[in-house]
Amino acid sequence: MLQTAQRTAKLKRKKRTPASLGEAAADKTAPPHERFLEAFRWMLLARALEEKLVSLYRGGQITGGVYIGKGQEAVSVACGLFLEKGDIFAPLIRDQAGRSAFGEPLVDVTRTYLGSRLGPMRGRDGNIHRGHPRDNELAMISHLGAMVSVTVGTLMAKRFRGEKDFVGLSCIGEGGMQTGAFHEGMNIAAVEQVPLVVVATNNHYAYSTPNDREFACDDLVERAIGYGFEGYSLDGTDLAACLDVIGGAVKRARAGRPPQLVVASLLRLSGHGEHDDASYVPEDMKGQPFARDCLKLAEQTIIESNLLDPNALAEWRKDAVAQVDDAVATAQKEAVPEADKEDWCALSTRDLVDHVGEDE
C-alpha cells in the first residue's frame, strides 16, 4: 500500500563517499577532524564539478542557465552530510555539495546539464531542477519557498506510517525567505511539529538585489522565534562551524526538538548564474570576512593543522576531477531525448489523458 515510499534512498549509500575508491561510508560518529575531511572532500568534488559545468557552459555545450554554489559549499555539504537513509533533502540551486554528500550520483548532474535521455529528468526539466523524489531528494520547482511545505508533507507521511528517527532538511536563500510560501511552510512545520531543519543562506544577494531591498530586520535568525523554531546563526565560510551548527540542528530535530532554523552568512562568489557578471557587487564587500572562500579556508585549516599530507590532498583533487570527467564523458556519449519517442503525457493514468482530438 505504501509503495511509493518503499524504494527510498537506494542510490544513496552507494555514493556515500566522496572518493571513487570505495572507502567505507561516512561514519556519523566520526571524530570531528575525520568528518571535516570527509566534508572537505565533497566540497572539492562539488567545486570541481561546477568548474567543469561552467567551462562547458562557456563552450556552448549547455542549454539553459548554470547556477553554482561557489562559496556556499561548506553550508551545503553540512546539509547533506548528516542526513541518513530515509531522511528527506530538499536542496536548491546552490547545493551541489549537499546533493553529492546526500547521495546524488554525479551522472545525475552531468546527464541533466548535457541533456542525456537517461538523466533523472529525461530532458523534460533541466539543470538545477533535478531530483530523485523516490530516493528522498526532492525536485525543486522554480517558485522559491514552495518546497518548504512539500518537505513538511513528506515528514508527515513518514509519521503517519509510524517511521521513527527521520528528519527533513529544506534549503532556502535569504531572498526566498521573503516569499509567502516560505512563511506558510515554516508556520505549518511548527504547527505540525515535524522534524524539519531549514537552512537559510544569506549570501547577501537575491540575483542583483542587496539585503537592504530584501528585508529590514537586523538578523534573519530573529524570525525563528516567531515561528516557534529554534534558531541558530552561522558563519557560512567556516566549515567546522557549519558541521557543528547544522549537524547539531539535524540531531536536535531528529531527537524531537522543535523545528530548527539555521541562518548562514556568506557571500555568493559567482554571478547569480553564469550569464551574470555580478558587477553590482561593490568591491569593498569582497574584502569583508563573510566574503572569504570556505573551500580555501578549509584547506588552510587542513594544512595548518596537518590533517592530511599534501600528497593526499593533491590526490583528492585529481580524483575529484577524474570523477567529474568520467561523469561528463558518460553523459556525452548518451542519446538525447527525441520528440517522437516521447509519449507527451502529463498523467500517470494513461486512460484519463485528455485528447483534444485535432490531430495533435
Binding site: L138, I141, H143, G153, N187, I188, L347
Partner: protein, 322 residues
Amino acid sequence: MSITYLEAIREAQAKLLRDDDRVFIYGQDVGGTFGGAFKATKGLAKEFPKRVLNTPISEDAIVGTAIGAAMQGMRPIVEMQFADFSSIALNQILNNAGTHYWRTGVPVPITVRLPCGGTKGSGPFHSQSMESLYAHYPGLIVMTPATVEDAYTMLIEAVTIDDPVVYCEHKYLYYHLKADKLPDKGLPIGRARIAREGRDLTIVSYSAMTQESLAAAEELAREGFEVEVVDLRTVKPLDTDTVLASIARTGRLLCVGESFPWGGTTAEVIARVTNQGFHLLDAAPQRLNAKDTPIPYHPNLWSAHRPNAKNIVAKAGALLRE
C-alpha cells in the same frame, strides 16, 4: 432514506478514511467537533482524530504539505474552505502537483476539494467556479459532479487515482439535490453522461448547470421540443466523443457553464465540436456563461449574472426555432 449531495461527499470521505489508511483530510476547520464550513467532514475527526486535521489559514502550505505527503505514498484530501481561496494555492496545484509526474515520473495523488459556484448573497469571493483555470494547465484531472451519485463515486475515484484531481463540488447543490441511495459504482471517470435524451438539441453542461439545463429541458418539452442534456462529469478529460454522438443525433448545440465567459469549458467544447463535428451541425453552436463581471452579492444581480433554467429556455428556444 434520502441523502443530499453534501452528505454524499461526507460519506465518500468516511468510506475512504475507513478503507485506506493512506487517506487523510487536511484543511481549515475540517477537524474538531466542527467538521468544516459546510459540514462536509462533520463527525469524521471523531472517528479519525489523527487523520482529519485542521490547518492554519495557509492555502499554499496546505497544498504543498499534501503534495509532499502524496509523494511519500499518502492520499491526502485537501478541503478549500471556498474554491475562491484556492487562488492562494494555485501555484502549488499548477506548478508543483501538475508538473511532478511529468518531470520526475513520481505521481502526486492529491485530491483538492473546491466548494464552487454561486449561492445567494455570497458575492465576488465566495462564489467562483474555477474549473477552467485548472483544466487549462497540464497534469490535472478536473471533476465537476452534477448529481448526488456522482458526487459520491467520483470523490472515491478521485482519491484512488494516482494523479492530482481538482474536485469541484457545487455549493448550490449541497442541499438542493437529493438521492435515495448511494451507488457502489458510477460511470468510468472521463465518460460524459446523457442526463436526458432528446433529438432536437443537445445541451452540454456540468455541475449545477446540468440541473438548470434539465429544468430547462423539462420546460421545453412542454413546448414540444426534445432536448438532450449531456453532463460532462469531468471537464478534463473532456469526453468529446459522447458530445459528438449526441450532436450527430440532434444537429444543434448549446453549451452552458457557470464560470466567466472568456475561454473556459464552453469555449473548449465548441472548439472541439466544430473541429471534429462541423458537418454534424445544422446551426451555429451557442453558449451561455456567467457575465463578464465579478459575481454580485445582491440576489437580484446574482440571479441575472449566472445562467439559469429561464435563460437557458430562452436561448435554447431561439436555437430550436432557427
